[in-house]
Amino acid sequence: MPDDPAVANHDRVSRRRGPGAMRLLTWLFFACALVFAAIAGLLGDVFFFRLATESLIYGGLALAVDILLGRTGLLPLGHALFFGFGAYVAALVLKYWAASFWLAIGVVLASSLVAGCIGGVIAIRARGVYFALISFGLAEVVSKIVFNTRSLGASDGIIGIPVLRVNFALFSIDTARAPELFLLVLAFLGVLFAAVAWLMNTPLGRLLSAIKANEHRVPFLGFDPWRLKLAAFTVSAVVAALSGALYPVLRGFVSPELLFFQVSVNAVINVIVGGTGTLIGPLYGSAILTALRSVIGSFTAHHLLVIGLVFMASVVFFPRGLIGYAAPALQRRLDDWANRRSRR
């Protein structure tokens, strides 16, 4: 009885029952990372492990940028500020206080909450391009201060961060071993991602999308956009700082370059190429562009030119980014598949 409304209704419901493409693409990312780890581990590689670890760390910064750019509609052009903040705080804790990973993470978490709040109060006073400029300016000011502060190592940064044993209840991880560190960073990023994804699925996260869609209506729903934006900015700053905290663990040093415009812009590019607002897209973007930078960088010193061209092509031809196109396309296939099964 194809004309029976109950059947038609059932059909419509079952169309929505196809597994979520976005969720699949998220699992795919982490599955690919594990497959990579298995292969690289078998080959006894170090270089690609460290490169992949770095791409994950920058992926965390891109995730932080996506909370603001993709979900709240604010373009942060100086988010390296919080990335570098996390890196420096972690470096100082590890070098001068105690070589404890969890202590460093705890201190970065607490201090970035405060720093994010302060930065947010300053930056979100402005909208649109002015927000971007204030964010940019804040990062420039702080990076120049760090660059000229001798006690922070000035232009040399802080070197000699000790190798860590990261203790879990049942086992421990040696950060000098590339595969172990990669898995630690992957797990850390997985937790960070899950927390952000969860938060974006609460009414608070949805209200951020409402701000992006139409900020002027939000007060008339009973919510203060300023407070919501401050919350988004602070969460984003914490995510950026926690990602940055992993940097000295990987590299054994931090330098003022971590706070520079280049880092901020690369994060924005990773987000846009990967898929603005998709959360997992920025991690894909970071992985792809880090690989691209490294591969092209080994052939030519003009790799920035290539990255720039990739970015421009992406903006012009694929403005929704990789996952912005992949997710709906995959969703259609999954729905077709689910429909065909339910009809059978």
Binding site: W198, L199, N201, T202, P203, L204, R206, L207, S209, A210, K212, A213, N214, H216, R217, V218, P219, F220, L221, G222, F223, D224
Partner: protein, 256 residues
């Protein structure tokens, strides 16, 4: 004095040298429909913006349910129980109908505000029930998963009212709810507004004089920023000053 949910006293705002709203006072009766009419540029929308917190008045008071709420921000006013719709559709066009309503209904969630904001969306039962109720009432059920930007004009206007209504306000300010609607849609919307009265109080701005005259318990006529007349629909219609200022141009249309 009757039981007023809203009492506006000597409200004024200037834009440069223009007195957009000039010393307006009126009351809106609890559970009734109070309408503000007037020709274009009479200051109706500015008055609405003053009452709903979108604009700060230069002088005067807004008393809502016995409390002075002059100059309060819109989010505070909504918490106090006053909501509004917009003349120019002001929705979240990139979000689905469901999401538009769910966000607006978030306020009906019981418990602490922050706690309700940090549960997964699926756990917001009260909000979801409110969305179901509204989509049934506003004939939007078939369109739940459509993006608000893809709705027809009539549907968007209905959603606009539904969004304003979602938080269960005690006073609803409707800014030209039938703007740009077809005749049939206008009739439907009028019936809907009529059905809302009693549940809550309504303050209405309308261009459609016939609609206002049929719906309203009390009518206020504005002209050049000031109050020209007020009273029952019949009294206002018969007022010679109103005839001259407002019905003058469209007297034939209004006479049918």
């Amino acid at each position: 004095m009757s039981d007023a949910i809203l009492s506006v006293r000597g409200l004024s705002v200037r834009f440069g040298t223009l007195a957009a709203v000039n010393d307006i006072s009126f009351e809106a009766e609890r559970g009734g429909i109070t309408s503000i009419i007037g020709p274009n540029g009479a200051g109706k929308s500015s008055l609405f913006n003053l009452v709903s917190g979108a604009l700060r008045p230069d002088a005067g008071r807004v008393i809502f349910d016995g409390r002075d709420v002059t100059g309060r921000r819109p989010d505070r006013l909504l918490a106090a129980g006053m909501a509004r719709s917009f003349q120019i559709t002001n929705l979240f066009f990139e979000l689905s109908v469901r999401e538009n309503l769910r966000l607006a209904a978030q306020f009906v969630e019981p418990g602490s505000r922050l706690g309700a904001l940090l549960r997964p969306v699926g756990a917001s039962r009260a909000a979801r029930a409110r969305v179901d109720e509204l989509t049934a009432r506003f004939a939007l059920r078939e369109r739940l998963d459509e993006l608000a930007g893809y709705l027809s004009h009539g549907e968007q206007r209905r959603l606009e009212i539904a969004v304003a209504l979602a938080a269960r306000p005690r006073l609803l300010l409707l800014d030209e709810p039938t703007q740009g609607m077809s005749h049939t849609d206008t009739q439907d919307t009028a019936a809907l507004i009529k059905s809302l009265a009693g549940e809550l109080s309504i303050l209405l701005i309308e261009h459609d004089v016939d609609l206002v005259m049929n719906l309203s318990d009390h009518v206020i006529v504005m002209h050049q920023g000031a109050k020209l007349a007020e009273g029952s629909p019949q009294a206002v219609r018969g007022d010679p000053a109103v005839q001259a200022a407002y019905f003058g141009e469209g007297a034939h249309a209004a006479a049918h």
